[in-house]
């Protein structure tokens, strides 16, 4: 006779089998966790969708169950399920290869631990049962609420281990730290920059970036000690760009590069080392462009507007194609409309364009060209009055019978 107790035993065995298969799928081969982790499958199985997922898993199809272990929101789930999910994703994060799935595991672990930290009743009951009065209430809170922070500390330690070799784990840690607000959004917590975990993640990310940048700092210092800017500087900046790409375009690195490169670029400019300056510009173009793109979106970066504009002005002056030169100069002015050199270069280029308009126009169409040229010279004068080239352009306009 098939009894309810037999059914219960069968379900327990099924849940253990499914848990192990799920673990193999998510951790990709690591030894399975404790049998009690099968409680996760048991809890997921309590909904219709979960029951269907377990049925499919028993037939070898695990993806629906995998999806159920990654809820969009953690607030509203049963505390025991959140606890299982926190431990599950934490264990997966530790054992899976450092790729996109591991990144998801870290973020889910963080979301689950953060959500669990808000389950005061569950945590109090656990603490009472486990330690009674032996642990002061302040310590209890530290243990329960400190779990997300401990997870970030673990990730930083793993990242620091691989920092000297720019390991995949370090890159993973940097990506996870940058995505902490996303994880917090999954548990209904405020996730703006003021959240303590967001601030902690930013600080730990900074530590990692500093660690991966250490060889670049040394290389730059060594290059500076040799006096004149040259190949060692270029090599150091090339390394900085590699690290910047490795960190998935870290903003602080962009600022650092801009701060470091400007005096060197000026020195090359003043000594007319055009070839080196061109190579420096090409090496750092992606970093400068990235920061230029951020400037329009983040008002806090306004202090960098003039520095980015100056790098663009250097680029405009080094550019061989006239139209592109003007385009770059206009971009520099769009970032910082009070930038003196930007206004000067843009005014000069506009005046040049004014003269070219008239010179290249057919004789029968010169008046119309002069009228167009006047738009350029007037703008040039508004940007930087008194330029020789503007004067010459105005004279050319006047020769065509148009009031300049």
């Amino acid at each position: 006779m098939w009894r309810p107790d037999d059914q219960q035993l069968l379900e327990r065995l099924e849940e253990r089998t499914v848990m192990r298969a799920l673990w193999r799928r998510m951790s990709r081969g690591a030894p399975p966790p404790s049998e009690r982790a099968a409680g996760l499958v048991h809890l997921l199985r309590q909904t219709d969708e979960g029951a269907r997922a377990v049925e499919q898993a028993l037939e070898g199809e695990l993806e629906l169950l995998v999806a159920l272990t990654r809820p969009r929101r953690y607030d509203g789930l049963r505390p025991t399920l959140i606890h299982h999910l926190a431990l599950w994703h934490h264990a997966v994060a530790h054992t899976a290869p450092p790729d996109a799935e591991a990144e998801e595991a870290w973020l889910h672990a963080l979301a689950a631990w953060t959500a669990l930290a808000t389950e005061a009743t569950y945590l109090r009951a656990l603490a009472e049962a486990v330690a009674g009065d032996a642990v002061p209430s302040t310590d209890r809170e530290t243990v329960a609420l400190g779990a997300p922070s401990r997870l970030l500390a673990e990730l930083e330690a793993l990242g620091l281990e691989g920092a000297p070799t720019l390991s995949n784990t370090t890159a993973l840690a940097l990506r996870v730290f940058a995505r902490v607000p996303e994880a917090l959004a999954r548990c209904g917590t405020t996730h703006d920059a003021s959240h303590p975990l967001v601030r902690e993640a930013r600080r730990r990310r900074r530590t990692l970036v500093d660690a991966v940048m250490e060889p670049v700092h040394h290389a730059l210092e060594e290059a500076q000690s040799k006096g004149q800017p040259g190949e060692p500087h270029l090599a150091a900046f090339a390394s900085a760009v590699r690290v910047w790409r490795f960190t998935a375009h870290d903003l602080e690195l962009e600022r650092f590069v801009l701060d470091q490169v400007l005096p060197i670029a000026w020195e090359l400019y003043n000594h007319k080392h055009w070839s080196l300056l061109r190579r420096l510009d090409q090496t750092l173009a992606a970093v400068v462009d990235a920061l230029a793109n951020r400037l329009g979106q983040d008002p806090e970066l306004v202090a960098y507007a003039s520095r980015v504009a100056q790098m663009l002005v250097f680029r405009a002056e080094l550019e061989g194609r006239f139209e592109t030169q003007l385009e770059i100069a206009e971009r520099a002015l769009a970032l910082c409309d009070t930038h003196r050199n930007g206004r000067l270069v843009c005014a000069d280029l506009l005046s040049e364009r004014a003269m070219r308009r008239i010179e290249t126009a057919p004789l029968w169409d010169r008046k119309r060209a002069a009228l167009e040229a006047r738009v350029d010279t007037r703008r040039a004068e508004s940007l930087f009055p008194g330029l020789d080239r503007t004067k010459r352009a105005k004279e050319a306009i006047a020769r065509e019978g148009v009031e300049p």
Partner: protein, 121 residues
């Protein structure tokens, strides 16, 4: 294998120090490997002497969220007919008397039997 003693030794995080001690003592007594016994002792210290550590480890252990198992079914009495038949079942059982061979028993009354009465004839 999990590093968490609650999971490694199948301990219930909700059990108090006394139950944890009892369970770990059982495990240590059954253990023949010296290193494993030392690990059990270390786990015992972590779990019973440091309540805060016990709480930390309990938080790091999967909670038991499965229903407790019921009773196993009672074993059924083995019926004779369930024994598999073999060739031996088809052969006639040997006679004990036959095994002893032909012997002649003395034809005397019981009250004269020297073994029963203890008297020599």
């Amino acid at each position: 294998m999990s590093d968490n003693p609650f999971e490694r030794y199948g301990l219930d995080p909700f059990a108090g120090p006394a139950r944890i001690t009892e369970r770990l003592r059982e495990l240590a007594e059954d253990c023949e490997d010296e290193h494993e016994r030392a690990a059990i002792r270390e786990a015992w210290e972590a779990l019973t002497l440091h309540p805060r550590r016990r709480l930390e480890l309990a938080l790091q252990a999967h909670p038991e969220s499965r229903p407790a198992l019921g009773r196993p079914p009672r074993p059924r009495r083995r019926a004779r007919t369930e024994d598999p038949l073999g060739l031996a079942d088809l052969t006639a059982l040997p006679s004990v008397a036959g095994a002893l061979g032909p012997i002649e028993l003395p034809d005397i009354p019981l009250d004269e039997d020297e073994i029963l009465t203890g008297r020599k004839r």
